[in-house]
Amino acid sequence: MRVELLFWEGCPSHPRALADLREAMKELGLDPDRIVVREVRTDADAGREHFVGSPTIRIDGVDVQPTDDEPLGLTCRVYHRRDGRISPTPDPADVHDALAAAARTATADNQPAA
């Protein structure tokens, strides 16, 4: 399972997002040191990475809170917590659930065929 956190330095939210992500991985018995942290520096980088804002967390390439038609670019991303509040970081419960689902998929894929 590949866990990535992409960030842009102009937005101060990535340390919090990384801490939440590390905590969720620990809760699920996953190694938080496997998180790949990558900085998106330029508009060209943002386009190449399909980066819609900082922070972005992807698990096996899938965004933990997929967006519809957000423009690509260097900006702070707007998330919605489960209680409806606007936040600069994804709801930790969403991160936890996305990781758990990916872990289940990975486990099922590694089961020997009957």
Binding site: P12, P71, G73, C76
Partner: protein, 173 residues
């Protein structure tokens, strides 16, 4: 950069209906740099509008200024600003466009939001965040309300300065 106690920069900026606004003419004026797309600005927004409502009876004015480069960030365009105003997001708060970014530079604004409180004489009395935690609505813009209460009562705000927290202002290249 204007220090606490010094005269704050004057400005004349248009709102979304092209009416021009200037600070002053009130026992206290709040100047808040904000925008449409920043999660910190959005998280604090209702608290700031509530301050405008709650202090209007004491004559306080709240002016919101969007200084972001709308070419690179179309979500901050005048059209997008107007849509929010027409949607009722800025009840009692003129939403001004700082197209040249000169006002943001004059105030040395760093983030959205970045809050400044001016007294009746135009002196800067508070600068910083609305309160200590964008995630906690119970904070209720405590820093800002405390600064306004102090200015209206003729006292020095305490704290007079806090660290602004939010998205960096999107300066033009």
């Amino acid at each position: 950069m204007t220090a606490i106690g010094e005269r704050a920069p004057m400005f004349s900026l248009p709102d979304t209906a092209s009416a021009v606004h200037e600070p002053g003419g009130a026992p206290a004026t709040v100047v808040v740099f904000t925008c449409n797309h920043c999660p910190y600005a959005l998280a604090w927004h209702e608290r700031i509008v509530a301050v405008a409502h709650d202090y209007s009876g004491r004559g306080v004015r709240v002016l919101a200024i969007n200084p972001n480069d709308a070419e690179r960030y179309p979500g901050d365009s005048p059209q997008a600003m107007r849509a929010r105003v027409e949607g009722g997001d800025f009840e009692g708060v003129p939403y001004l466009r700082d197209e040249s970014q000169d006002v943001a530079r004059a105030y040395d604004a760093k983030t959205t939001p970045d809050v400044f409180v001016l007294d009746a004489n135009g002196l800067l009395r508070y600068r910083g965040a609305p309160d200590a935690d964008y995630e906690d609505p119970e904070q209720n813009a405590t820093f800002l309300r405390g600064a306004l209460d102090a200015v209206l009562d003729g006292r020095d705000p305490d704290p007079a300065q806090t660290q602004p927290v939010g998205c960096s202002i999107k300066w033009k290249a």
